[in-house]
């Protein structure tokens, strides 16, 4: 079952099917669900970054007008580890009354020492974050290539400097939360949740309530952003469902903005001292890094520096990594769009440009000299994978972007411009795995009335997943995407894989293709019987069924009406893990032809830096990206531009700022937590480097990775001074300029 070689709809620019509903506010997100007699719930949270709960008194709150029920999350005596940690949830008849109830609850705390700054916590002599360990620092894994002692011997130049980036928040516009409702007998639970994992969310609740399979249903028709932070019911989902059970009424619990920022997820910080040395031609000879970062109170599974030096690792002969995970009294990190990669990109790419400048080598030349080579061994098993052809992919992409941005004309030596407002260009590369897996059962139904229905339990986070399903099916059935009715986001349909790591398009596409082709075959077989012709006399052409027996072209709808049965239906899914393990041909088909893993991308930023105010404006941006076989070019380009914009926010504006004394985040909002508006953003030119022979790979994560590093390098190119820590705020730009004026290196 290969992808069709001539693709009529696949790969074209298709508007999203639900665009009208969303743009006119008629699409109902979980936050928008209002059920009959619905109550509203809120959560009381610790104001202290580290404390034990001494006493908890709810007597007054129970007398507040509209009060209905409590759900206790932490009992007296329990320890809280960050400001925002959940204590107790309350349900009331209105949101206003729920707020009144929260204010009436009295909690006494025994306040304990906390650490919210990585650098402080790095020097901690006590453990303020719980679990084992004498301090807040955990070893994060070291790595050294053989004979590293002489790694820097004979290099033409070596630079050593600190680089880094702070903690940021997902800031999903639709906050975390759900609406929970039990049936009359309290045997079945339905939730409308804002989630990237519809079946997982139902399953999380089912396990919590010890219910039987199928008794919890999760519905997510529309979803207002997740970026890696929404994979289960979370504590607020459990609280809402508990309160709904206690009160026998539907309960809505959506986090407010301060809560969303405080507990809805963070991307870990990363700081490192990097030493990098190279030959005069610009080949990196050695890369040494001592780095740390915080993933909040967690042990930091999501802070990983094992991919340093990022992208170029396979081309660098000598590598040494020292890595520590620093725990702090802030919320637990959650996966955020391309976990680890943006941080590692910053620690690598900034150092490379500093070395390039020292060596007097053009940064593009430098990168071309250090591309990871195509892997010959991998080419034998997965010739269409990233690893087998990564060097070639980057070379091709660099050639494209070089022309797009006119690098040869417009790039100049760092700091070469006079004047107070200086412009510069910088580049960076990235990679991401992507790739799909099952189970993602998909059903296609062709009805006698001519309608076509597609079903799966997967979710559309704004990726145009609905539209993707319709495109593939339309291509197979000779129809238009608008001819296909898609339902998704309902766990009762069956399993599906969570939407994380750019895996949804590759995870669902082959199952959709198979379901569509199976439905088509069943349809033509049934029709052949009715028309008294051989099955192979019938074929699909755009809008029609062609009967080769009499050269008749039957409009699709007419053909459906001749089916003689209400519908034909096909279900399809991935082979099971075991089937894939046991069959090389199946593995090849599903994981190296229909889908694959790994993409490369190149990005270039042009910035203008005002050396008097320190303000950086990104004035132009170029992105070249591959993602294998493109299903919807329009949505793909949206993903890339959106990823770039998220990266530009990371580069220039956003950062969670914690107060050392109170241990609270001072900008848990959207006012002092800066995000770009339209006027702050440059025109972004996206070029999709189409490689359809590679199969479907996934596009969500990669385009946000290299952006911040590209901007950082563009700033360096403009002013000839390194601003080492992102976001590259005016304050940091001015500090770097002042530092240079003071004669420091």
């Amino acid at each position: 079952m290969p992808w069709p070689t001539t693709r009529r709809v696949i790969g074209t620019r298709v508007q999203r099917l639900d665009g009208n509903e969303k743009a006119t506010g008629r699409a109902k997100y979980s936050f928008d669900i209002n059920r009959p007699r619905m109550l509203h719930a809120r959560i009381l949270r610790s104001p202290h970054a580290h404390a034990t709960i001494k006493t908890l008194d709810t007597a007054a709150a129970e007398k507040v007008a509209g009060f209905r029920a409590f759900y206790l999350i932490k009992k007296a005596g329990a320890e809280v580890f960050f400001a925002g940690d959940e204590i107790i949830a309350v349900a009331a008849d209105t949101e206003e009354h729920a707020d009144d109830c929260l204010r009436a609850i009295r909690v006494e705390y025994n306040v304990l020492a906390h650490q919210v700054k990585e650098a402080d916590s790095l020097r901690s002599t006590t453990n303020t974050t719980g679990g084992a360990g004498v301090t807040n620092v955990n070893a994060g894994g070291d790595f050294t290539t053989d004979n590293f002692e002489n790694a820097f011997a004979g290099t033409a130049a070596t630079v050593q400097a600190d680089y880094g980036v702070g903690v940021i928040s997902h800031q999903c516009l639709e906050s975390h939360g759900l609406v929970a409702e039990w049936d009359d007998k309290q045997e079945n639970l339905t939730v409308w949740a804002s989630t990237q994992a519809v079946p997982n969310t139902a399953e999380g609740l089912r396990v919590h309530f010890k219910m039987k399979p199928g008794e919890v249903k999760c519905i997510t028709n529309y979803m207002g952003g997740g970026f890696g932070s929404k994979f289960g019911p979370d504590i607020q989902g459990i609280a809402a469902a508990e309160l709904a059970r206690t009160t026998r009424q539907a309960v809505k619990l959506m986090l407010d903005r301060a809560e969303e920022v405080t507990v809805g997820g963070i991307r870990p910080s990363a700081f490192g001292n990097v030493k990098i040395g190279g030959t005069k031609e610009g080949r990196i000879q050695a890369f040494e890094v001592d780095c740390y970062g915080t993933g909040g109170v967690s042990r930091g599974a999501t802070v990983s520096f094992a991919i340093l030096p990022y992208v170029y690792g396979p081309a660098v002969p000598n590598i040494k990594r020292l890595h520590r995970v620093v725990r702090t009294n802030i919320q637990t990190a959650r996966a955020m769009r391309a976990p680890n990669h943006p941080q590692n990109s910053i620690l690598t790419e900034l150092a490379i440009d500093d070395l390039a400048a020292r060596l007097n080598v053009n940064p593009m030349t430098m990168r071309l000299a250090n591309l990871p080579p195509d892997d010959v061994a991998e080419a034998k098993t997965n010739p269409r994978g990233y690893i087998a052809q990564r060097g070639s992919i980057y070379r091709a992409e660099i050639a494209i972007i070089r022309k797009m941005c006119n690098w040869d004309r417009d790039w100049h030596v760092p700091g070469a411009q006079k004047g107070t407002i200086k412009s510069g260009m910088g580049m960076a590369l990235h990679t991401w795995g992507g790739g799909g897996r099952g189970p993602n059962p998909t059903r296609v139904t062709i009805n006698a009335n001519g309608t076509v229905l597609a079903q799966s339990s997967s979710q559309d986070l704004g990726t145009a997943q609905r539209t993707l399903m319709a495109i593939i099916i339309a291509d197979v059935l000779g129809l238009q995407p608008t001819d296909i009715t898609v339902t998704l986001g309902d766990s009762s349909f069956g399993p599906s894989t969570p939407s994380g790591g750019s895996t949804t398009a590759p995870g669902t596409s082959p199952a959709i293709l198979k379901a569509a082709e199976t439905a088509r075959d069943a349809f033509l077989t049934a029709l052949a019987g009715r028309l008294n012709v051989q099955r192979n006399q019938l074929s699909i052409a755009p809008g029609v069924v062609v009967n080769a027996a009499n050269n008749q072209r039957i409009p699709f709808r007419d053909a459906c009406s001749q089916l003689g049965v209400p519908n034909v239906q096909a279900n399809a899914d991935w082979p099971t893990t075991k089937e894939l393990q046991n069959s090389a041909p199946l593995r090849e088909e599903w994981t190296t032809r229909l889908t694959n893993q790994g993409v490369g991308g190149v990005q270039i930023a042009e910035v203008k830096v005002d050396t008097e105010t320190g303000i950086v404006t990104c004035s132009k941006f170029w992105a070249v990206q591959d993602c294998g076989l493109i299903i919807n070019k329009l949505a793909c380009e949206s993903q890339v531009a959106g990823g770039v914009i998220m990266g530009l926010n990371y580069a220039l504006y956003e950062e969670c700022i914690f107060d050392r004394v109170t241990g609270r985040q001072v900008n848990a909002d959207m006012e002092f937590y800066k995000l770009a508006g339209i006027a702050d953003m440059p025109p972004i030119q996206v070029h999709m480097h189409d490689m359809p022979e590679r199969g479907v790979i996934g596009i969500g994560e990669p385009p946000t990775i290299a952006t911040a590093a590209a901007v950082g390098n563009a700033i360096f190119n403009a002013i000839g001074v390194r601003v080492p820590i992102a976001p590259f705020t005016p304050e940091r730009v001015l500090a770097a300029l002042a530092n240079r004026r003071a004669g420091n290196p």
Binding site: G25, E96, D256, M646
Partner: protein
């Protein structure tokens, strides 16, 4: 900061929310409005004032009079979403920063999270839902769809209403003027590039580089 009209009704919600920490912000939201009770003072001829208990109000939403009962502290946004099931306006920051709650009040855009519902009585409230009528889609949301200027779409109705208001006020607006009208709105998915395509299409202007 932005071009939205804000209705000043006593202490702004922004002021009291600037205290630190999730708990303060989470619990103070409704509280300050009650304590300050600016709305009650603004109502002439009601003797003892109104509130804190719920009062009956009539709002004109998308051309229809609708009635509900709300406490005076309830914002227009919450009245629409929680009491009238008009959910096209979204609650995101709830403090006049993001524009997700943008609606038109007598043709001018406001942040519905920063207007009290009782203040919106007697005025024409228009939400994004009004831009789809009898199967007919208004040119503004249609341009968003064509340009794919939305991903998750949670910010989109706010942007659409803001853009519609600019073009209603000045059908000849140039792209830069339309863009200026969107500066009070934030999109997290990053749809600005496509939004510019939508703006240029609506202004019948070709987009250069």
């Amino acid at each position: 900061m932005h071009d939205h009209e804000t209705l000043e009704s006593g202490p702004s919600r922004r002021d009291f929310l600037q205290e630190t920490g999730a708990v303060v912000a989470a619990t103070a939201l409704a509280g300050a409005a009650t304590m300050e009770s600016p709305a009650a003072e603004l109502q002439p001829g009601t003797g003892g004032g109104i509130g804190p208990n719920a009062v009956k109000i009539t709002l004109n939403v998308n051309g229809r009079d609708v009635q509900t009962s709300i406490e005076p502290r309830v914002t227009l946004l919450d009245a629409l979403r929680n009491y009238l099931d008009v959910t096209g306006c979204k609650r995101v920051c709830d403090r006049a920063t993001c524009g997700a709650c943008t609606v038109m009040l007598d043709g001018k855009v406001v942040y519905a999270c920063t207007v009290l519902a009782i203040e919106a009585q007697g005025r024409q409230i228009r939400t994004a839902e009004s831009l789809y009528n009898d199967g007919k889609l208004d040119a503004v949301p249609a341009a968003f769809v064509r340009a794919d200027a939305q991903q998750c779409g949670f910010c989109t109705p706010g942007f659409v209403v803001a853009m519609k208001a600019v073009l209603d006020a000045n059908p000849q607006a140039a792209p830069a003027q339309v863009e200026k009208g969107l500066q009070g709105n934030i999109c997290r998915c990053g749809t600005y590039e496509q939004m510019r395509d939508a703006i240029y299409a609506l202004c019948n202007t070709k987009r250069g580089n």
